[in-house]
């Protein structure tokens, strides 16, 4: 007896949650015999509720109930780690039950609709689930710190070493990445405008530019370090070269985007070359230009960090990553990775926001 509109997948998930909850109660939760479900009351509550949720095959449960069960699962499992120490079969059954609960919740949530907050909540839920599973697996299986530290340890290390991380961020991101990105994208834009009037140059440069964008340009990093020294200018130079060709190719393609009709209309207005360029062709090229700016935002960060592997002063994200790996301080490396990920996402997001504001007229932004 299941309500209408419930898929086979959801039925399977619901049955799995109940079954795994039952197994979690029966099987031992910890490697040491002294520890049982008694020592982790929240986990016991979750196991009981998971079994009780089988009642949904008689009485339909609201979506919110699954949400509450998911939240309880996360809190119960993580807080139980302190008592359990090293998980046994029962603990892993409950972990799997918690994972299925989150999955079922997401399935039901997406079936409800695609309203504003659901669109945000679903991916956030997925990310939190991944983090919780990561924490449970690394701590529950006693994975050595050197291999993969749990997210909580990374968070502690992050909070403890903010001054170092900030100095590295300044050196790599604020100097090498931003300056290189601006110069590389800017000069490519100017070159694209300059060769706009020569179809001959375009015919020759476009295929060559396309080829060069596919090449492993990162390989010039050692040469740039040799030419411009260890400090940030050599990293900025790598970023300039890496960001140049995607921008050139996209801008040239974008400038060809304005249609024959619109261009003829501009001519009937007696608009000159520059007027046509500024009022018609550049706005029409904007989606292409922003595409290149987005590609470049990730390329720039990669270029700057990798270039630091070939020689740096004693500060910088790439320097920190390579030295801390050597000293087996893997939690510090992961904290640096978190900084890189945050900076990369924020950079990409900022470009995307500007794109939405500038090319508001484009079909992909109007829906």
């Amino acid at each position: 007896m299941i309500a209408r509109g419930v898929s086979r997948l959801q039925t399977g998930l619901a049955a799995g949650i109940g079954l795994l909850g039952l197994l979690g109660i029966v099987l031992p939760v910890s490697d040491s015999d002294a520890v049982g479900l008694i020592n982790a009351p929240l986990l016991a509550l979750f196991a009981g509720l998971a079994v009780a949720s089988l009642a949904r095959f008689g009485v339909p449960l609201p979506v919110a109930a699954d949400g509450a069960l998911t939240a309880l699962a996360g809190i119960a499992l993580v807080s139980a780690l302190a008592a359990v120490d090293r998980g046994a079969s029962g603990f892993w059954c409950l972990t799997a039950a918690g994972w299925l609960t989150a999955w079922l919740f997401v399935e039901r949530l997406t079936a409800v609709g695609r309203g504003g907050w659901i669109g945000v909540a679903v991916p956030v839920l997925f990310g939190v689930t991944l983090l919780v599973l990561w924490e449970l697996l690394t701590r529950g299986m006693n994975v050595p710190q050197v291999l993969l530290p749990p997210p909580s340890a990374i968070g502690v290390r992050f909070a403890a070493s903010i001054p170092i991380l900030w100095a590295d961020f300044q050196q790599t991101f604020l100097k090498a990445v931003l300056i290189g990105y601006a110069l590389g994208s800017g000069s490519a834009f100017l070159v694209a405008i300059a060769i706009d009037r020569s179809p001959f140059l375009q015919r020759g440069l476009l295929p060559v530019g396309n080829l060069i964008s596919a090449l492993p340009i990162i390989g010039i990093a050692p040469i740039m370090v040799m030419w411009f020294g260890f400090d940030w200018p050599s990293k900025a130079a790598v970023v300039i070269v890496m960001t140049f060709f995607p921008m050139l190719v996209n801008t040239v393609a974008g400038l060809a985007e304005a249609g024959r009709m619109e261009r003829d209309l501009m001519r009937t207005y007696a608009a000159g070359y520059w007027q046509t360029l500024v009022k018609l062709r550049l706005p029409a090229a904007a989606p292409f230009i922003f595409n290149a700016l987005k590609i470049n935002s990730t390329l720039a960060l990669i270029g700057a960090i990798v270039a630091e592997f070939f020689g740096t002063p004693i500060v910088g994200m790439g320097f920190r990553i390579s030295t801390e790996v050597g000293r087996m301080n893997v939690d510090m490396v992961w904290a640096e990775i978190a900084v890189a990920a945050l900076a990369g996402s924020a950079f990409f997001g900022a470009v995307a926001l500007i794109e939405r504001a500038v090319t508001f007229w484009h079909p992909s932004n109007r829906q």
Partner: protein, 295 residues
């Protein structure tokens, strides 16, 4: 007057002109960048020199700031044709090490990307929860943390080809996912409705409509994926202590100031990338022709 017209005309001559111009600029830069050091040498030896001496000598330095194109060409010739393939000094040997990791990573990445795309197209929850993370995964500069992944995997006992291939996999699955999701969704509603009037099952719709429809998208993404796989494999070779592979040649060259060696490894990598991308292009046109597409 722009690219639309440009694609119509002949391309060979303009490309040739651009390439010749690049080589010309390279030669000019060689003379310009190598002159200071060469003048130092003349001064130390206290000998007179003419401009033609200077030009000839700047192109024949042992460790130039920028080697001349023909120096690099000679180095490539010596390390590919004149060395045995099994020798550690042979570029063919190093290129093969890199190529094998690239191809393994590319294959795994393509399979992973296609599988993810199929899951995303067929399940709404996967679409909404996984897709944003697939995009977010690429804002993490994986290339930057590649060395750490290699070192950690080495510590567990995984070494050799697999760790490098995993980096390539991570990089190459992304373009495939994005392209294939677009491709598998490319069939229009009217075509899907037609399949429904035939009472086709989901599997039949997939194999007879969605899959053939997605081929051009798959090949376009594979071109990007294979190029980025190569980059992944090269960066993956950096931290292993410069043992073998094109990345190791780069690192060893930068340690010992062997600029000619760096440039020859770099140009070999570039040639490899060009060959791989054009091979995917050939496969693309072959498959499309077999499927009955008009050129």
């Amino acid at each position: 007057m722009t690219a639309g017209a440009a694609t119509g005309g002949g391309k060979a001559i303009p490309i040739l002109v651009v390439v010749v111009a690049i080589v010309g600029i390279w030669y000019a830069a060689t003379i310009w960048l190598n002159t200071p050091w060469q003048r130092d040498v003349y001064q130390r030896e206290g000998r007179d020199w003419t401009v033609s001496d200077l030009v000839a000598d700047t192109m024949a330095q042992e460790r130039p700031v920028l080697p001349a194109p023909h120096q690099v060409a000679i180095e490539i010739w010596q390390t590919t044709v004149e060395k045995k393939v099994t020798s550690k000094r042979s570029l063919v040997y190093h290129a093969w090490i890199t190529l094998s990791a690239t191809l393994a990573g590319f294959a795994m990445g393509t399979v992973l990307g296609v599988v993810l795309a199929v899951a995303i197209v067929h399940n709404r929850a996967t679409d909404r929860s996984v897709m944003p993370w697939v995009i977010a995964s690429q804002t993490i500069p994986i290339l930057a943390i590649a060395p750490m992944i290699i070192v950690v995997l080495n510590a567990v006992g995984l070494s050799g080809l697999l760790p490098k291939a995993l980096i390539s996999t991570y990089l190459s699955f992304f373009p495939v996912v994005v392209g294939m999701v677009k491709g598998l969704r490319a069939p229009e509603a009217i075509q899907r409705d037609l399949m429904r009037t035939y009472s086709a099952t989901a599997a039949q719709v997939f194999w007879k409509l969605r899959w053939p429809h997605s081929m051009p998208y798959l090949f376009a993404s594979m071109k990007v994926a294979v190029a980025i796989s190569l980059v992944g494999a090269i960066v993956g070779e950096l931290p292993t202590g410069a043992v073998s592979g094109l990345g190791a040649r780069l690192l060893a060259g930068s340690y010992y100031g062997q600029t000619v060696q760096i440039w020859s490894a770099l140009l070999t990598a570039a040639a490899l990338a060009a060959v791989l991308v054009s091979l995917v292009g050939v496969a693309n046109s072959y498959v499309l022709r077999r499927m009955g597409a008009r050129p």
